[in-house]
Amino acid sequence: MSPVLYYATTLLVFFFDYNILTWGLNIQFGYTGILNFAFIIFMAIGAYVSGVFALPQANGIAGQTYILGLSWPFPLTLIMGGLVAAFFGLLVGLIALKRLRSDYMAIVTVAVGAIAYDFIGNVTGLFNGWDGLGGVPQPLQTRFNIDFNTYQFVYVGIAGVVMVILWWLANRIYSSPFGRTLRSIREDQDVSEAFGKNTFKYRMLAMVIGCFYAGIAGGILIFFTTALNPSGWTTGETFVVWTALLIGGTGNNWGAALGALLVPVGFQEATRFLPQFPGNPDLIPALRNIIVGGLLILVLWFRPQGIIPEKKARFNIFRIPLHGAPAEVRSRAASIAASQKEESNVTDG
């Protein structure tokens, strides 16, 4: 395989993965207004848990210590990673979302992130501590014995399928009444509460779904790189995802995808492969941070809603034309309501 092709497919997997991650954050912040500054922790949990479900039992020979080691097959391993991350999202949500004030919530997540980081690093028996997990078996690799080069394409396919499913789900949620209620909570939680919405429950759901996305993104990452240690998910990584979302456009999954393409993939991953300046190994990462930071300031200054802002709700998904005289529109809406009621009675009743 040519280096260029290898490089391109690698970036593509990273892009797909960061899409999933940024959509997860979008569900929490862009849809619901939840400030989660420990977002990357849930990616790490998803990665490690997927890893230890896929790895064989730790026997100490390779020097790694970790829990479980169940040798489960893909995609169960990935799903477990997502579910466990979602479960931890639930626990953090119980602490962070109970009160109404969003600054309180943000502080709690920062603290939780710091605790989780040190805990996972220091408790070596969990996920092999600061050295992290390595040698995680890749999905379908061993079973079908695919050669290294072909596998690169197979993995693009695997990540792509997972991404498309989660893209569909994120947009389905967005345009549903459920998503509308989430957005109303983002706009004014008190008013939604005054309209009978159990806002704590909805915010918890958004938290859990977003953390599920993060967990899946973690699984997709570790099955690709086969290894992960805490230096791969520092607090700084949380802000990479935040920057991607803010630059691309909060509340818009296309915007989030553009942000994922620009920030983590474009600036973080692609520049990682640039030649280093002799005698000054820190120059490229430093420049990268300056450029990303500058871009964020420019976007917040000139286009605070992001490059691709949230779209107005149009309601045309329900085939109701909202143009024309009120009376005409109303009668048309009424007839559609009647016909769809019949349909739904037939199919759902």
Binding site: A194, N198, F318
Partner: protein, 270 residues
């Protein structure tokens, strides 16, 4: 008790006057300020009741406590539709039919006017995650019904042309109208309106007043209306409660209130 039995127990016998809201010895203070001070009052069902009184009398505070927006401070009891709702969270009161608007309009600024109206309907099946994902037809049918009602209300409130505008771009008066239209989408049993006409032009205010009267007649919604414009109060309200210094000072018809010496001194001015 089964649900129907409970409903029957609450249904008033013909000719009997029931109070949909009963506040007993309610107090609420901010630090040392007793904004609501041992206040007791009743709001009769299926009528339009006005809550009037000088600035700072505690009217908005009362509405905030009754709607659950300010947590109860362990003094006083609130009965709504036969339930003691004193300890209930806000959303539960709303689901029971107690809906309120805010004195300073609050809206979903980043959502369109029409979308604002689509949030309040209760028990939307599409608000469940599983239905949202797996039962799009059921959800769409329900959406179409809500949409029809929303368009009708927008028409009534003169906001039809603004339906696709972001709510934050409306004028102050339009925000008031939006807030009232949106509250009606929730199918309230009791609607608490905190100065709904403030900042609305007189012609439209008259229309709104007429609309409130029609709604009360046709749907049986009970209104509790905080209002400083006594002309409108006189015109549409069946019943008036005067508040001063955190307490209900007097109740009665507007004519009775005008004849009440205490009220004239406290509020109407000599």
């Amino acid at each position: 008790m089964s649900q129907t039995a409970e409903a029957l127990a609450r249904t008033p016998r013909p000719g009997e006057q029931t109070d949909i809201l009963r506040v007993e010895h309610l107090s609420h203070s901010f630090g040392g300020v007793n904004a609501v001070d041992d206040c007791s009052l009743q709001v009769p069902a299926n009528q339009i009741t006005a809550l009037i009184g000088p600035n700072g009398a505690g009217k908005s505070t009362l509405i905030n406590v009754v709607s659950g927006f300010y947590p109860a401070q362990k003094r006083g009891t609130i009965f709504f539709n036969g339930h003691n709702i004193t300890g209930w969270p806000t959303y539960r009161r709303a689901n029971a039919g107690l809906i309120r608007t805010f004195q300073i309009s609050r809206g979903y600024g980043g959502m369109t006017v029409l979308e604002n109206l689509m949030v309040p309907p209760k028990k939307q099946s599409g608000e469940s995650l599983l239905n949202a994902i797996f039962r799009p037809r059921l959800v769409a049918a329900e959406e179409a019904r809500h949409l029809e009602k929303a368009l009708q209300l927008l028409d009534t409130f003169g906001l039809y042309e603004k339906r696709d505008e972001y709510a934050r771009n409306l004028s102050g008066g339009q925000k008031r109208l939006l807030e009232m239209a949106r509250a009606l989408m929730a199918d309230p049993t009791l609607l608490l309106l905190d100065e709904p006409m403030a900042g609305v032009n007189p012609a439209l205010a008259d229309q709104l007043a007429q609309h409130i009267v029609n709604l009360a007649k046709q749907t049986g919604i009970t209104f509790l209306l905080v209002e400083h414009n006594l002309g409108i109060v006189d015109q549409i309200c069946d019943h008036v409660i005067v508040m001063a210094n955190g307490r209900a000072l007097a109740t009665g018809t507007m004519a009775e209130i005008r004849a009440n010496q205490q009220v004239v001194e406290a509020y109407l001015g000599g």
